[in-house]
Amino acid sequence: MLLILGMPVSSVFAQDLASEVAELRSLLTQVQTDYDARISDLENRLATAERQSRRAQRDAEEAVELAEQTAIDQSSGSSSPNTFNPAIGAVLVGGYADVDRSWDQVPGFQPAGEIGTGEDGFSIGEAEINLKANVDAKYYGNLTVGIGDEDGSVEVGLEEAWLQTTDLPMGLSVFGGRLFSAAGYLNGFHFHADDFADRPLPYQAFFGGRYSVDGIQARWVAPTSLLVEVGGEINWGGGFPATSNAHNSPGAWTLFTNLGGDIGNSHSWQFGVSWIRADAIDRAAEEDPEAFTGNSDLAVVDFVWKWAPDRNPIRQHFKLQGEYFSRSETGLYAGLPYDGDQDGWYLQGVWQFAPMWRVGLRHDVVDADNGPLLAGTGLADPGRSSSRDSLMIDWSPSEFSRLRMQYTNDKVLPQSDNQLYLQYIMSIGAHGAHQF
């Protein structure tokens, strides 16, 4: 009976127990999930707090450093009289030349400037000092002085002294003072930026190395995606091929235009045409005292093409440039009627084949057709063209130093000459920008 009775009682009891256990279990699970959630919430909060504290700490450190830097900037900047000093740079150029047959005049061309092979042996060349800065909100100024040694006496030359407007509208700018003419591609560069130890023959024969303008230049850049630049110059100074004409009227006028752009992702180019009209009165030189009076018309066509893979010139790049000069002069030379036509050109390629290393090859040639009348004078028709072939290699461990070796087969004189040039070019001071 008990057994019979006990069965349902115990089963009821067992049922109660089971439900209680289940309840307990669910309660426990709930507590556990609750606890888990709370723990993970706490962990999250801790992580956030850590992140925030890290950031706050960093902010605080930054704030302190910023405050310090500001304080330093202000204290070091305000009282110094040097604050407004212009950018100052100097370039040291020199080297060694092995020349057997030197020349300082190209046959058939009136000599000008310091041209030619230079002297055999070591020479310190010319040191150049450059100062540049904004004058104020309207002008930018540039001064370049060359210091050289001429037979034991120091010679100081004024290479550049110009102002440029910086606030004219519509793409206009005006230069005034002594400046490198915009005629020709290479003319705008300082000698130390050349890729060879000397200027190509057309520059030596037609410009005496470089054509400088004492006067005014105006230029305009068109609002186009292709570079279109046109300009003009009036030269009152006596820069060859002009003469100063007692400063009454300009000695020469220039018109120039440059076009340029990119092709694809690795090529860019520039093309220029310029024309110089010079009126010369008694133009003569130390080496050739006979004087020329008359008109000189010179046309220059130039191009440069540059290749740099992905426009990254550091590993390797290539530059091909060439210029063609054609001049016509009419007037009186040494009292004789003179109507001469001269032309010349050069083509050069320079390849940077590895970082710091470049090789270059150049051919340059000039030719004068001065007619039979001037036989026996300084402009006697040479009856042949003057030319050279040059090979150079240079090494530039940084942007500021360069060592160069150049071999030239020189056929300017009737007898050819093999020449060797070793050259150093070092820049100190302000970082100059590089022209295209």
């Binding site: 004219l168 700018s173 609002p223 590089h434």
Partner: protein, 301 residues
């Protein structure tokens, strides 16, 4: 005859004026600032970018096309801190554009708005191509982007007030997204803290500072000057007992020194995108940071 010529002239002038008036013309020196500009100005600007991720922004040829681009710019956006000193001054001289000359509202210099690191105590070229104003590669710290964004938006408003509401709302939106993204990156990058790396050049100093990476060696001990064989040997000797996780460089830097090092001590060569376009996936500032952190995570151990 004269009348028809005048009509043609007014037509041309009209074309020129409308084409320039429709959008602000911006010349941008580096792709990272172009991406920021797109965020802040969208179609209110038309931009020309001077460099790609495959060019060293220090050394650029002042190409004629860049002169033409500066000529037409209402605003130039560049890094500054002497990064562009070898080419930008020349473009500014040649372009004859008064608006974008130094000190004018059209001349925006990003580095002026951030705290720069590695400001040299002595300034001497014997130390390499040193930057007196500090390391100019400022864009790989999100704080710097945040600050430059504020300043750039302010400048856009100053130059083009008619669209100021748009610039302001775009700035607010960008800063919100940027600060969220920054938080995510910082969280993701917690395991990267203290990651040891060698670097080709000091191009990643701001990234390292932000993520607490440990740049244990630079393969260009003097900036801009390739290391000598002796210097590389010293670096190798120093790294051999405890090699770093990898050697990082930008897409434009010479691969040879990192090739050499990675072959000697068997570490990964990691070409980080560095800027927009440096890897196919780095299409804007956000993906640039994503990719950079992802690539570091891949090589972290």
């Amino acid at each position: 005859m004269v009348g028809s010529m005048l009509r043609v002239l007014t037509l041309i002038i009209g074309l020129v004026v409308t084409s320039t008036a429709s959008a602000l013309n911006v010349f941008v020196c580096q792709p990272e600032w172009d991406s920021l500009l797109q965020e802040l100005a969208g179609d209110k600007v038309e931009s020309t970018v001077a460099t790609t991720a495959f060019q060293d922004p220090h050394r650029l040829q002042a190409r004629p096309s860049l002169i033409a681009a500066v000529r037409q710019a209402d605003l130039i956006v560049c890094t500054g801190a002497d990064m562009e000193i070898g080419w930008l001054p020349l473009l500014l001289r040649r372009a004859g554009n008064a608006k974008v000359q130094d000190g004018n509202p059209g001349n925006f210099v990003a580095a002026n708005y951030v705290r720069r690191v590695e400001i040299p105590v002595t300034i001497d070229r014997a130390q390499g191509d040193v930057h007196p104003q500090g390391n100019p590669h400022i864009h790989l710290n999100p704080r710097n982007i945040e600050r430059v964004a504020d300043a750039l938006a302010e400048r856009l408003i100053n130059i083009d007030p008619s669209n100021s509401a748009e610039y302001q709302s775009r700035l607010d939106d960008f800063q919100r997204r940027w600060s969220d993204a920054t938080e995510d990156w910082e969280e993701r990058a917690i395991p990267l803290e203290g990651m040891r790396l060698a670097a080709h050049h000091r191009s990643f100093s701001y990234l390292a500072e932000w993520l607490d990476l440990d740049i244990v060696a630079t393969l260009e001990p003097k900036p801009g000057i390739p290391a000598s064989a002796a210097q590389l040997a010293t670096i190798l000797e120093q790294l051999t007992p405890n090699p770093p996780a990898g050697v990082i460089r930008t897409p434009y830097e010479n691969e040879k020194p990192s090739h050499w090092l990675s072959a000697r001590i068997d570490i990964a060569e990691i070409v980080l995108p560095f800027t927009i376009g440096g890897t196919p996936g780095s299409v804007d500032l956000f993906s640039l940071y994503d990719e950079t952190i992802r690539m570091l995570e891949e090589h972290n151990r």
